[in-house]
């Protein structure tokens, strides 16, 4: 109980929000809009899983939004050239992994601070994409949207993919040595090194893996619409960091879980429709997101301060 206090308190907040919605806006609980909401959040969940690993490793990656856009446009262009879908998916994942590896190389190899490196790559990828493509949308051929399935089946596929990935990764983080290594590196890189783990290799692997997840998420996003938006993924880094931090993953590394990040994402994902139902205008969303990040880290800071005294 005490060990999972942080996750449980976020889950309680989510429960209160859902209860309030049930009382004030029962229209929220219609199955079709809920499924659409879940489908829209599925790619975000995949990226948030990657972001959790990065933050557990005591790093940060704010270039995921730009990587997402680049992967999406790449996947769209390949699909428009009538590549088979599995190949497009593989290419999108490889594209993301390559960009993640580039971050990893600079951060783990040259020991540069991740915030500045990913700030630079965020601008370079995004502006480079704009420069090359001039903001043109990519039209997709038939059979790409929802993988050629019916809409409901496609939506269920995406949601189940994200949930399966989450479960598998959560299992790996607690039961596989690679997962424990990530916690070890995030808690104390030097101690991890003395214990025989190679922290820099782990960091590099985490960034590459996160890039691959971003590639997968981009593909999941591409299949949701008949066109690819070159500006997709703007603000994705903030959304995922907010979910991870709200879910109780310590920004100082080594503490937290994927389930916490999942609950945090659910809470944030329900806030925006809740605002609509409670007639708060949509342009407050960004401010509220910032406030939630600050509240979450401030609450953690407050608890740690009490513990230290």
């Amino acid at each position: 109980m005490k060990r999972h206090f942080r996750e449980l308190s976020v889950a309680a907040a989510l429960g209160v929000l859902l209860l309030a919605l049930a009382l004030c806006a029962p229209a929220f609980y219609q199955p079709q809009p809920l499924l659409s909401l879940a489908t829209r959040q599925a790619p975000v969940l995949v990226v948030a899983c990657g972001m959790t690993l990065v933050i557990l490793c005591r790093q940060i990656d704010i270039s995921v939004g730009s990587q997402f856009a680049v992967c999406g446009v790449c996947a769209g262009l390949l699909a428009a050239m009538h590549w088979p879908l599995p190949l497009v998916l593989a290419a999108s994942i490889a594209c993301g992994a390559a960009m993640g590896a580039f971050n990893g190389l600079l951060i783990a190899g040259l020991e540069l601070p991740s915030i500045v490196v990913t700030l630079a790559t965020m601008a370079a990828w995004r502006e480079g994409l704009l420069w090359l493509r001039q903001g043109v949308w990519v039209d997709l051929p038939d059979g790409v949207q929802w993988f050629g399935l019916s809409q409901a089946a496609g939506q269920w596929t995406l949601v189940m993919t994200a949930l399966t990935l989450l479960t598998a990764m959560a299992f790996a983080m607690t039961h596989l040595s690679a997962g424990r290594f990530i916690y070890a590196v995030g808690s104390d890189a030097e101690a991890a090194r003395l214990a025989g783990i190679r922290p820099r290799r782990m960091t590099f692997a985490v960034f590459t893996f996160t890039g691959a997840l971003v590639g997968l998420a981009a593909m999941m996003n591409v299949t949701q619409s008949p066109q690819v938006d070159p500006n997709s993924g703007t603000g994705l880094e903030l959304k995922t960091i907010a979910a991870v931090v709200v879910g109780g993953v310590a920004i100082s590394g080594g503490r937290g879980s994927l389930w916490g990040a999942f609950v945090g994402l659910l809470l944030l994902a329900c806030i925006s429709p809740a605002l609509t139902f409670m007639h708060v205008a949509a342009y407050w969303e960004k401010a509220i997101q910032g406030m939630i990040i600050l509240l979450a880290v401030a609450a953690d800071g407050w608890r740690n301060r009490k513990r230290n005294l």
Binding site: L119, E127, Q289, L294, V297
Partner: protein, 335 residues
């Protein structure tokens, strides 16, 4: 590695010197390619356009010296521009009073960063990432995403568009702030304490430096300077919009790091930052003269930042590799 080297060789290999040479080359290149790049009018133009990013970069220099970072300066510029417009148009305050209030609100916003960082001991990175979202979101919420403020009086616009004794009107303001920061970082005990904190916060505390008060000072100052930049921005463009200053934090951080300030804290200079700002401003302006699309500047700035960071990390990597080689040699001898 931190042994001070003197003499001509050390001077030649300082990052500021290298940057100065790059700047001169950049200048000659764009002068040859573009048609009106090297004229006096265009030089004034560069100065005008880089003054806001320059102010943000100046504000970030002591922050990065202390080993911190402030990602919220660009968003705060947007928020302050909106608040200034709101105070003038909707609250009917006279322009000077509205400016004063805006500066005060900027200090307040910087104070929020400072309070979270020093009181709750949170990492500056995540705090300012949160306020980055919060400030921009507030600007969007206040304007409902569409409202813009225009029709400012000519006497106010002169601050951003006019000339004063032959130089752009914002030049004296910028110069004054730059002198202030130069004094703070290079000529006062504050500057010493910023470096000490950057090297080791714990060590600085043992040396009797009021670490939290010094940190609060730089973040509050950054808020005030962002507000000042917002006023200059509004005066230059003649309008205040919620997206004012988007992405400016990237340019400002790049300028500081280009200027040789270590991103790990502890070492850096205001001159370097000024050179970095000029290099970025000239690049931005020169690309326009060379008829390149605007996205190029953002992309090149990102690439430039990566290259400079990689370059600054190279000596450390080489020395560790050498040490490792030496260690294996010794181990080989002893066995």
């Amino acid at each position: 590695m931190n042994v001070q080297r003197h003499g001509i060789k050390a001077f030649l290999f300082r990052q500021e010197t290298v940057l100065g040479v790059v700047l001169v080359l950049e200048w000659f290149y764009f002068d040859a390619v573009g048609r009106n790049f090297g004229t006096y009018d265009n030089t004034c133009d560069i100065l005008r356009h880089s003054s806001e990013i320059g102010l943000l970069a100046l504000a970030l220099t002591p922050i990065i010296l202390t080993g911190g970072i402030d990602l919220s300066v660009g968003s705060l510029l947007g928020l302050c521009a909106i608040l200034f417009g709101k105070l003038w148009r909707d609250a009917h305050l006279p322009i000077p009073l509205a400016m004063g209030c805006t500066l005060g609100l900027g200090a307040l916003a910087g104070g929020l960063n400072a309070a979270l960082i020093t009181r709750l001991r949170l990492p500056p990175l995540i705090v300012t990432l949160g306020t980055y979202s919060l400030f921009r979101g507030l600007a969007e919420a206040i304007t409902r995403g569409v409202d813009t403020f225009t029709n400012f009086p000519a006497s106010f616009l002169a601050l951003g568009q006019g000339r004063w004794l032959g130089v752009p009107a914002q030049a004296p303001v910028f110069l004054a702030v730059a002198l202030g920061y130069w004094w703070l970082v290079h000529r006062s005990t504050f500057g010493r304490s910023f470096r000490a904190i950057g090297y080791s916060p714990e060590g600085a505390r043992y040396a009797g430096i009021p670490v939290h008060r010094r940190l609060a000072l730089v973040y509050v100052l950054a808020g005030v300077v962002s507000a000042l930049a917002a006023i200059l921005y509004t005066a230059r463009l003649g309008q205040a919009k919620a997206d004012a200053g988007t992405g400016y934090e990237l340019f400002a951080i790049t300028a500081v790091v280009l200027g040789g300030t270590s991103i790990f804290g502890g070492a850096g200079s205001v001159y370097g930052t000024l050179l970095g700002v000029t290099a970025i401003g000239a690049l931005d302006n020169g690309l326009v003269h060379a008829l390149q699309p605007g996205e190029m500047a953002g992309m090149l700035t990102g690439v430039l930042l990566i290259v400079v960071l990689a370059g600054s990390a190279a000596p450390k990597i080489i020395s560790t590799l050498r040490a490792r080689k030496a260690a294996t040699r010794i181990a080989g001898h002893s066995s």
